[in-house]
Amino acid sequence: MLAAQYPVLPVIVPLLSAPIAALMPNRSLAWIMASLVSALVFATAVALTVIVSAQGMISYEVGGWPAPYGIEVRVDSFSVVMLLVISGASTLALISGKASIDAQIPSDRQPLFFAAWLLALAAYSGIAVAGDAFNIFVFMEISSLAGYVLIANGPDRRALPATFKYLVMGTIGASFYLIGVGLAYMMTGTLNIADLHARLGDVPYLRPILLSAAFVTIGLAVKAAVFPLHVWMPNAYARAPSAVAVFLSACSTKAAVYVMLRFDFMIFGGAFAHHDVQFSTVLMSLALLGMLIGSAVAIYERDVKRMLGYSSVGQIGYILLGASMISLGGVSAGVIHMFNHAMIKGGLFLAMGALVLRLGGGTLDDLKGAGRTMPWTMGAFVLLGLSLIGMPLTAGFISKWYLVQAALDLGTLGIVLIAAILISSLMAVVYIWRVVEVAYFQSPQAGASKHQEAPLMMLVPLWAVVLANVYFGLDPSIPVDLATNAANILLEHAK
């Protein structure tokens, strides 16, 4: 019986447990509850992966009402990739984050913090499994609001201006998305994604649909921190508590990219002829700029967390570059990189969490000599950095491989893309090696000798991520199959 309810469990269980966690008397109870629920959601995600890879798409009618009239929850391999990324990142961040959360957040505020965390988890899972455009907006509202609350709990005062900037940009993005959905609803009379796609074909007037596509794409681009609209992201991740940075860096921007791809391929794709040309030219140029400028700025960043933020702008550029190639190879490369990048960036922020916890700060000067005082954490950081660069034996290499291979099919334009990909990888080498040089070649600052290795609770999950990285570098069959199915679904709708 319960198996039929799997698509909805990742949303309803965290929603049920959030109010309870908010009322928990002490912080460790709230933390245990949050971790258990997050682990349960991850287990459901894995179960869904098995079902979807066997059975294809699952459709679930909330409230028992048939599709276009009631709200439909739809789980296919693209949403399963997102679910795995979200619940994996959340479970990892929670289990490893206990020490850093206790250090950064006063204990009387922690039940509220974990309640907001569970709401964010529920909202992101809701977005991943949603089959209804307005439903995505509702969960986007909850996820951004909970995100602002999580980031605002940052350790120092600078968290508040960072949150405010994120709040303003996020709200603008969400309202653009709402205007776009409103326009689409006005022209077709339905909100269900599959129904929208079917009815968009025979809409007499084209201009409102173009408008709707523009608003949806721009709104989601703001939420996804695509290149020119990314200004809020590095500060938000740097000033947030470390555990939040692990969670949000792995899934907040990717959820927006996920929704953007679903809309642009599955709804507007087939609607009018030259949509994909418009989509690819705009997004590809933004992606290229994002990759090059994001990585370039990351090189000159002194605060390592902000550096990782700017590097995320570049990596989002990779994902969009793959998607904007509008080819099976390209889109699946984009989806693979969504999966791999979440793993890599989550791990890097986890390592940063440990370093900040022990060394007191995240700037390059604080990390001096960390290689000797915290060998295991820095070792994990270097390995994950190599994966970010795309060295073989790591997951990053696989996504680079598929991306370059997809670019090769585009002929001369492909050569430009490959050049951009390789230049930004070399820039990644530079900014990762800056950290390595500071950590291994410079002696620690005076009076910093008392640091010892990060707590075991942080090291074990950290090295679990590193090993997962190497495993998916050697045997990428799971993410690759899911990504190719997802690409098939997206493209065959776009025809």
């Binding site: 009322l23 909330v62 439903n135 509702v138 609350v149 205007i179 077709t188 084209l206 408008l211």
Partner: protein, 323 residues
């Protein structure tokens, strides 16, 4: 004839919006936003959207203005001279406006029957509601049952707002009995008496709106706001500390969580009883009864959650002042 009203209201709204942007005094800006919401409510009413009009009036004009004033009380009255160069922002807003205007050329005419919106989903709702849910007010049927999943999300948005305010401002601490700061307006006899007279009526009206939701415009959100407005009026009259002793903020937040939990719990129980999430027909032997029960329960949950969240936020602002 209606066109004249809506034209008048829309022009007034544009005027008020410009005034809000222009004014430097934050107090005036808060008042103007209140007026703007009220005009919006009137406009909705002209468009025959009674439910939305009631919500907009209660939330926009009523409680939101109180929160703005609470926030202003904590910060400065006058907007300090933020750098007023907004050339780029103006350009962006202007270009978006032009794009939308260009788009409106091909929108279906307001209210014309053949518009796609009235062709596809709406007729099904109108036809199926009496048969499946047997509730006169179709809006509540759609809100609570057909698209109950969205409303579940909305309730949790409200709860997240409360969690956000509390995690930033923290729970207000009550001063003990003797040094309770008597900041209420109790020394103003007239206000006190009129207030004492009106508060029960307002609460009664709130409850009416809550349980009348199935038949006429109403429902959880509006009722919660109205009840919250009444209790805020009471807090204003009798002073923050006495109000907080009668309704301790921790209990309020507990009620907010309870409200949200009721809504999600109803969803959960339908799951356990074998139906899909939020499928109320499994709640009792006869599906239509089940729908009634389900809608009533979740409306109660929504009302409880919204009322206690509004109060929690008010007390968080008001209580914060005395620290």
């Amino acid at each position: 004839m209606i066109i004249v009203f809506s034209l008048f209201l829309l022009t007034m709204m544009v005027v008020v919006a410009l005034a809000v942007v222009e004014t430097r005094n934050l107090f005036a800006a808060a008042m103007l936003t209140g007026i703007f919401s009220f005009l919006m409510a009137a406009n909705f009413f002209v468009l025959d959207a009674a439910d939305v009009a009631l919500t907009e009036a209660a939330v926009g004009a009523g409680v939101a203005t109180v929160f703005f004033l609470g926030a202003i009380a904590l910060s400065s009255e006058h907007e300090h001279s933020a750098s007023r160069k907004f050339g780029l922002a103006l350009l962006a807003v202007a270009s978006t406006a032009v794009v939308i205007l260009l788009g409106t050329m091909e929108f279906p005419i307001l209210g014309d029957g053949s518009a796609p919106v009235h062709q596809h989903v709406a007729p099904w709702y109108l036809e199926k509601t009496p048969e499946l849910i047997h509730v006169p007010n179709v809006v509540t049927a759609v809100l609570a049952s057909f698209r109950g999943y969205d409303t579940l999300g909305e309730v949790f948005v409200v709860l997240t707002a409360a969690i956000g305010v509390l995690s930033l401002l923290g729970f207000p601490r009550n001063n003990s009995e003797e040094n309770a700061v008597n900041d209420g307006l109790s020394h103003q006899k007239i206000l006190h008496i009129v207030g004492k007279l009106l508060i029960p009526l307002i609460i009664l009206f709130g409850l009416y709106v809550q349980f009348h939701g199935d038949f006429g415009p109403g429902g959880g959100f509006q009722a919660g706001t109205i009840i919250a407005a009444a209790l805020i009026l009471y807090a204003l009259l009798s002073g923050g500390d006495r109000a907080r002793r009668q309704m301790p903020p921790r209990l309020l937040f507990g009620m907010a969580c309870l409200g949200a939990f009721i809504y999600a719990g109803v969803g959960g129980t339908t799951l356990l009883l074998g139906g899909n999430l939020l499928d109320y027909s499994v709640l009792s032997h006869d599906p239509v009864h089940g729908q009634h029960l389900g809608i009533m329960l979740i409306e109660f949950g929504v009302g409880l959650a919204v009322a206690s969240v509004m109060l929690t936020i008010y007390h968080a602002f008001a209580g914060h002042e005395h620290r």
